[in-house]
């Protein structure tokens, strides 16, 4: 009998791996495998016309944050890279904060609608999220460019004489990222808020709490997991953004994504590009681990 169930189990296992094989092959070829090769490339020497020489070198990793002076060979921090990292982190944090500011009230608004309306409001949040990121970015560009809608209206109303330069600034990058990533904040926040127990809030008011106190002492602690999840879901793609800073930053305001691209274009330093990619990946993975922990707590809390 034990034998029989043993063969059955082995058979089930074989069938399972046969069913998984096609998906795993494609993912290995066009997702996981190339990542490993990228890791290998980060330890090679750049070729003169792009590509690599198969010669072990740690220069790429060294060059991620350091540089050697061209004249006297002294070591120093790579100011260009560090300022780009700093801008990426700064703009991603600003984007996250702005998404909380707009997303929190929006999620709360949806969660407090009558049950039948909520799905419709959520659909309004989800539709832009599933439409082309480039088109949404472009839509914002049309709005804020010098001869765009906002400036045209302001000039027509006589409020300003000359267009305000909004495009190609750090402001425009943040605006673009808030616009495209806002749904990622609203979705998890709404999921937490939908389950809010409003009798707790009522109890708070019965005990003479003000609205602000209710928000700070009751609502905020209850939706904290959703807030953390939303913040990470916004921060992670902002940090790795490529299209938005390229279109909104106009080539002057680089972020990590654009710095990586540069190494495969004009920079002709594939190993450095590979090392920068792996660095970005590592930071993102740490943030995602934090997300998994936050999501895990959420499940425990709501049982």
């Amino acid at each position: 009998m034990a034998d029989l169930s043993d063969t059955a189990a082995r058979r089930a296992s074989r069938v399972r791996w046969m069913l998984l094989a096609p998906a795993l092959t494609i993912l290995l070829l066009a997702a996981s495998g190339p990542l490993l090769i990228t890791l290998v490339y980060s330890f090679l020497t750049p070729g003169a016309y792009g590509g690599v020489e198969w010669q072990l070198s740690f220069d790429a990793w060294f060059n991620v944050i350091m540089q050697r002076d061209i004249f006297d060979e002294t070591l120093g921090w790579s100011d260009a890279h560090l300022s780009i990292f700093w801008r990426s982190v700064k703009l991603s944090l600003l984007t996250t904060v702005a998404c909380v500011f707009f997303g929190f009230p929006t999620a709360y608004f949806i969660a407090t609608r009558p049950k039948k309306q909520r799905d419709l409001w959520m659909l309004l949040i989800i539709i832009p999220f599933w439409t082309n990121l480039l088109i949404r970015t472009f839509a914002v560009v049309e709005l804020i460019r010098n001869e765009g809608t906002v400036n045209s209206v302001l000039i027509a109303l006589g409020i300003i004489d000359e267009p305000i330069q909004m495009l190609f600034t750090e402001f425009s990058i943040v605006l673009g990222m808030v616009y495209v990533y806002l749904p990622l904040m609203v979705l998890p926040l709404y999921a937490s808020m939908e389950r809010l127990d409003f009798s707790l809030i009522e109890a708070g008011y019965d005990l003479y709490a003000t609205r602000l106190q209710v928000l700070r002492r009751i609502i905020l602690p209850l939706v904290k997991p959703g807030l953390i999840a939303g913040s990470i879901l916004v921060f992670v793609p902002s940090l790795g953004a490529y299209v938005t800073p390229r279109v909104m930053g106009g080539g002057n305001q680089l972020m990590i994504g654009n710095l990586i691209e540069l190494q495969f274009g004009q920079g002709r330093n594939w190993p450095l590009g590979a090392a920068l990619s792996i660095t970005l990946l590592a930071v993102v993975m740490i943030a995602l681990l934090a997300y998994v922990r936050a999501a895990g707590n959420e499940e425990v809390r709501h049982g």
């Binding site: 089930a12 296992s13 791996w17 096609p22 998906a23 795993l24 494609i26 993912l27 066009a30 997702a31 996981s32 190339p34 990542l35 090769i37 990228t38 490339y41 707009f102 009230p105 929006t106 709360y108 608004f109 407090t112 659909l123 309004l124 989800i126 539709i127 832009p128 599933w130 439409t131 082309n132 990121l133 480039l134 088109i135 472009f138 839509a139 914002v140 049309e142 709005l143 001869e147 400036n151 045209s152 616009y179 806002l182 809030i201 008011y205 609205r211 609502i219 793609p237 940090l239 790795g240 490529y242 390229r246 990590i256 990586i260 691209e261 495969f264 990619s277 970005l280 993102v284 993975m285």
Partner: protein, 267 residues
Amino acid sequence: MADRGFDVRRQTGFTTIALACFVLLYLPIILLVIYSFNAGASIAIWEGFSWRWYQSAWANEQVQEATVRSLIIAVWASGISTSVAVLAALATTRTPRFRGQSAVFAMINQPLMVPEIVTAVALLIFFAMIKVATGYTGLFYLIIAHSAFCIPFAYLPVRARLQGMDLSLEQAAADLYASPFQVFRRITLPQLWPGILAGAMLAFVISLDDVVITEFVKSAGQDTLPTYMLGQLRRVVTPEINAISTVLLGISVTMVIAFTVLSKIRN
């Protein structure tokens, strides 16, 4: 306290911010669509209604080629990713924990977790090696790249559908000596199709909209609609871009609404 019109759910200013949020979310898109019908060449000054930019986009050979290429890639990628995702979903639902399970889930979800720019660069490196070795520079690279990042989008709705399914019918069929394949074809598949269709549509939209990975993987002269648009943004922009965008938006919105309806169909 709760009576006399005091609403415990209200928070000062929240409704205002929320409604502003919805307006701001849709205003740029609506303006983009409106100006695609502009008679003039401006994207800010309205000069009357016309179809001219749709006609000029339709007549533009580069746009035609990019459209056909985008559709070919999206059809192949959604077909391939959905087929393999259905098999993978069958293998990973209703089974006890198996050895290597978390590795399998990590691989399937990898395209969702790794930043697109990192995947794009990794594919550029890997495919450059293959291009040098084989000399082949066709569409296959784009198709397999798109298939890979579409897999999680096709997998999730199918898996959700499988998990929500009533097992008693399958058990009854098995009790009546149906072979596993017969059970799948006659019992599981007919119940599964809304999930499969939903997954395929999601994959189609995701493939059609991709910019970053396509931009890095494509060989010379292999522009898709989004990469063509990205290239055009560097030049003087005419409402032709708005016209193309409007068509793409129409496709996405239709698909998302159909997807929402499909995932609501009960067993």
